[in-house]
């Protein structure tokens, strides 16, 4: 067991609690608004036929998007990690890039390209093609622009898997399919479920896709209540229902994770496995990846370019003003840094002292993740204008809002890399007389780098695209690429919004590509360096003793 002083632990607990409480501010606001709305009125809203109908359509969408994201992401992870797929390195970056495309841009592009009388139908000269509006449209655009959440977590888990286990299974006569089901899949499951958690909660909160595709969900209803009826009470009730849904899903995931912690830790990658020869599978694999890339990248970029050309002809600049770019980049970088730092104590509590307290903190930090941005933003407007007017409408407040909104993405990434760190390393450092802070700085932090980087990267990307909180909380007059796109499209200046849209996608893609390339290189180095010194049996010692005790 990691030696620790009670005082040290208490400090960590207090910091983690503070993060959890800050993240739960919007929930406090919702509870207050609901109380103000009145008990019976709230019950009426919550149990009305319309609400129950929305609950069903929302759940249907979330489940479908999550399932299809897993179905898309797992084969891609396998192809790019374990096979001799031609252009593996390129594919492994390209398949993650759809994450850089905001759903409000992507869905709009889909309608322009694949709508009933869109460019595609015109090209083929077809009079009418099946409607993409409604469930299928919302499902397709949410899946195509959020499956990379699963892909990222599964890929990094797969890179860490010890191929020795699979080889043993094969030598013992199991087929490769059987080996996948019985040996690989159980080890991947925690990564799949944490990616699926991000996708499912994201699809609960998304407004862009469901609004464009005209599919009724909780989030769309909340917007309708706010915008149409300016009704804060009913919106709060619906928001709280989303919170309950989030906590339920999260509790399920926590259970699943507890059962599977041992698998996750198995082996830290003994050596580079022999890549699987794709053989005849190469053609369908490339065709599938090509189709996916066409839909999730080429269609949106194509439609944006079409409008860009029209805009430029009408005299619009290709590249947006520098201030928009620097505003977008600076708040996104700040949010990435703050969210990642805030995620660290939460992740450490979850790892060091799993139990009720850690579970509560984790649930608090996640509780607002499925809430539509407008709900969190209005909660912070109320809190900011009335409790901390000196900080209201400042960049600091905006960054705080982003950090609350996207904290879970950082927690997930930091937590999984923390779980890979053997506690014996910290113990050794302490035994050799190093201070706790020195141990943290010199031992833990360098090992956590990939996780911190991945978490910060996700928060950065999501912040670049964020719209509702930016519109409400940014300093007055502070425009970003996202607000610029919104401003122009909402008044019908499509040519004018294409430049900022393209800049947003490109500026998000570049850091992501760098991040991915580095992590690949690092992964390869680590696997190569670990070599023979680490027999598979040793993997057992990687299990933190706490985890063993809880079992």
């Amino acid at each position: 067991m990691t030696p620790r002083q009670p005082s040290d632990d208490r400090a960590l607990r207090i910091v983690a609690l503070a993060v959890g409480v800050a993240a739960a501010l919007p929930i406090g606001y919702l509870v207050w608004r609901t109380c103000e709305y009145g008990f019976s009125a709230s019950v009426d809203v919550a149990t009305s036929g319309r609400t129950l109908g929305l609950l069903w359509s929302t759940l249907k969408l979330a489940v479908a998007v999550t399932a299809s994201s897993v179905v898309i992401a797992v084969p891609i992870a396998w192809l790019t990690v374990r096979t001799n797929l031609p252009g593996r390195q390129v594919w492994s970056i390209v398949t993650v890039l759809p994450l850089a495309i905001p759903t409000y841009v992507g869905s709009w592009a889909f309608i322009g390209a694949l709508g009933p009388r869109g460019m595609f139908a015109n090209l083929l000269g077809i009079e009418s093609i099946p409607s993409i509006y409604g469930f299928w449209g919302a499902w397709a655009s949410l899946t195509l622009f959020s499956y990379p959440y699963v892909l990222l977590t599964v890929r990094s888990a797969w890179m860490r898997l010890d191929p020795g286990l699979e080889e043993a299974s094969r030598m013992l006569g199991r087929s490769s399919w059987h080996t996948f089901l019985k040996v690989v899949w159980p080890q991947l499951r925690p990564a799949v479920s944490s990616g699926a958690l991000l996708v499912s909660l994201y699809s609960l909160s998304d407004f862009g896709a469901v609004a464009m595709m005209r599919y009724d969900t909780f989030t769309r209803e909340i917007y309708l209540q706010y915008r149409g009826a300016l009704e804060r009470g009913a919106s709060a009730v619906l928001g709280l229902m989303l919170v309950v849904l989030t906590v339920t899903v999260l509790t399920g995931e926590q259970r699943l994770r507890r059962r599977e912690d041992l698998h996750r830790l198995h082996g830290s990658g003994a050596r580079t496995p022999q890549p699987v020869e794709l053989g005849r599978l190469r053609v369908p694999a490339l065709a599938g990846l090509g189709l996916l890339t066409a839909l999730a990248l080429a269609v949106p970029l194509g439609v944006i370019s079409y409008w860009l050309v029209r805009g430029v002809r009408a005299g619009e600049p290709v590249w947006p003003a520098w201030s928009l770019i620097s505003n977008s980049l600076s708040v996104s970088l700040l949010a990435a840094a703050v969210a990642t730092i805030a995620a660290l104590p939460v992740a450490m509590i979850i790892r060091r002292s799993p139990g009720r307290f850690a579970n509560v903190i984790e649930r608090l930090s996640w509780s607002g993740y499925a809430l539509p941005g407008i709900v969190v933003a209005l909660a912070l407007v109320y809190f900011g204008a009335n409790a901390v007017p000196w900080a209201y409408q400042s960049v600091a407040m905006l960054v705080f809002a982003y950090s609350i909104l996207f904290l879970p993405q950082a927690i997930g990434a930091v937590r999984s890399s923390l779980l890979q760190v053997t506690p014996s390393l910290e113990e050794a450092s302490l035994l050799l007389g190093a201070q706790r802070t020195t141990t943290f700085r010199k031992v833990l932090l360098p090992l956590l780098r990939p996780g911190l980087g991945a978490g910060a990267g996700l928060v950065f990307l999501t912040t670049m695209k964020e719209l509702p909180a930016t519109l409400l909380l940014a300093p007055t007059g502070f425009s970003t690429l996202a607000t610029r796109i919104w401003n122009s499209t909402s008044e019908g200046f499509l040519g004018r919004s294409a430049g900022p849209a393209l800049a947003l996608v490109l500026l998000s893609s570049v850091p992501m590509a760098i991040l991915l390339t580095r992590s690949q290189r690092q992964g390869a180095r680590r696997i190569g360096a670990a070599g023979r010194d680490q027999p598979a049996e040793n993997a057992k010692q990687d299990v933190p003793s706490e985890v063993r005790l809880t079992r």
Binding site: R117, G228, A385, A391, L448, A456, L472, T489, G492
Partner: protein, 337 residues
């Protein structure tokens, strides 16, 4: 990792400096804060003009009209805003009913060409007019195919051919106006009949125009001015506006208007800014660049657009538009939302 290697202390120091610098901006006597539900592309040039002319700094927050109103409601007494500029009269009516707006000077309210363009409480004023019209696909229809009155789109021959935006504020304002004009029962019956014609729902006006142009639907219920922007980019855009005759429920005007916030720290400058927005050259700008209808006497509408006085200014109180909730309930009841 790129992110993790950023020196943390520097990032944090940067964050703090930035926050302090930004937080300390604004608040002085020579600046105004405007919450605008109207788009940046539409109004920023006019605001820049007025800021120059009055020698004040005008900071503008752009967003959805409803969201900007929610923002004012949440901020309460602590709002930094001096002015609210809304896309429609409905939200101004709500704010006025809450006591959120200051009464305006008579020299301001006397400038508009019709008494219906000012709130009865004299606390907000129309800046420009927007006519509700229908657009039709000129390849599929000629103007003579269109019904005599807006209410006749209940005819089954329009089944599946109508595009509308039931969640859009302008549309909802139109329905609220119909309720004032025809009464609740007739409006509900009309909506029910329209819903039976299976109109195609869009998020807002622009996608309706795109859909009409592509032939996805043949006609759409929209505001009049979106079309001219499409025509400016593409003169062959196969869509035209149809204005119904004066007095028809389809020829209603809604105004974009503005008022001074009760908690404004600079109410005099705020009124001056409104006055500037009503000055002849700014009205001219709105008319010629945004194709909106000017509200002050003497200012001419763009090209052959009808003047605001030749269309139906609702004879009832524009503040009735504040009953948005009743309209949303009705739209939900008939299955439009």
């Amino acid at each position: 990792m790129a992110m993790a290697r950023l020196p943390l202390s520097k990032t944090l120091a940067g964050a703090c400096t930035l926050a302090v610098v930004v937080a300390s901006c604004g608040g002085d006597n020579n600046s105004l804060t405007l919450y605008s539900g109207r788009g940046e592309d539409l109004v920023q040039p006019a605001i820049d003009q007025c800021a120059d002319r009055l020698n004040v700094e005008i900071n503008v927050r752009y967003g959805d009209s409803a969201e900007m109103l929610l923002l004012l409601q949440e901020e309460g007494d602590n709002t930094p805003a001096d002015l609210y500029y809304s896309q429609g009269a409905g939200y101004l009516g709500i704010l006025s009913a809450d006591g959120g707006l200051l009464p305006l000077d008579e020299k301001l309210t006397s400038q508009v060409s019709d008494a219906n363009l000012v709130s009865p409480a004299n606390d907000w004023i129309g800046i420009t007019g927007r006519a509700r019209t229908i657009v039709y696909n000129t390849e599929a229809l000629s103007e003579s195919d269109l019904p005599e009155s807006f209410v006749d789109f209940t005819d089954p021959k329009w089944s599946g051919r109508i595009g509308w935006a039931p969640t859009n504020a302008s549309f909802q304002d139109h329905i609220t106006a119909l309720r004032g004009l025809l009464g609740d029962d007739a409006t509900r019956a009309w909506l029910t009949a329209i819903v039976e014609n299976k109109p195609v729902a869009y998020e807002k006006n622009t996608p309706i125009l795109e859909a009409v142009a592509s032939g996805e639907v043949d006609i759409g219920f929209v505001n009049h001015y979106y079309l001219y922007r499409f025509l400016a980019e593409d003169p062959d855009f196969p869509v035209a506006n149809h204005f119904f005759d004066d007095g028809d429920p389809g020829a209603l005007i809604n105004v974009a208007g503005a008022g001074v916030i009760t908690h404004s720290k600079n109410p005099d400058a705020a009124q001056e800014a409104l006055e500037c927005l009503l000055s002849a050259d700014i009205q001219e700008y709105f008319a010629s660049t945004n194709y909106e209808l000017p509200v002050v006497a003497g200012a001419e509408p763009w090209s052959d657009l009808p003047s605001i006085n030749s269309l139906t200014l609702p004879e009832f109180d524009l503040n009735l538009l504040a009953d948005l909730e009743g309209t949303v309930d009705m739209l939900v009841d008939v299955g439009a939302l």
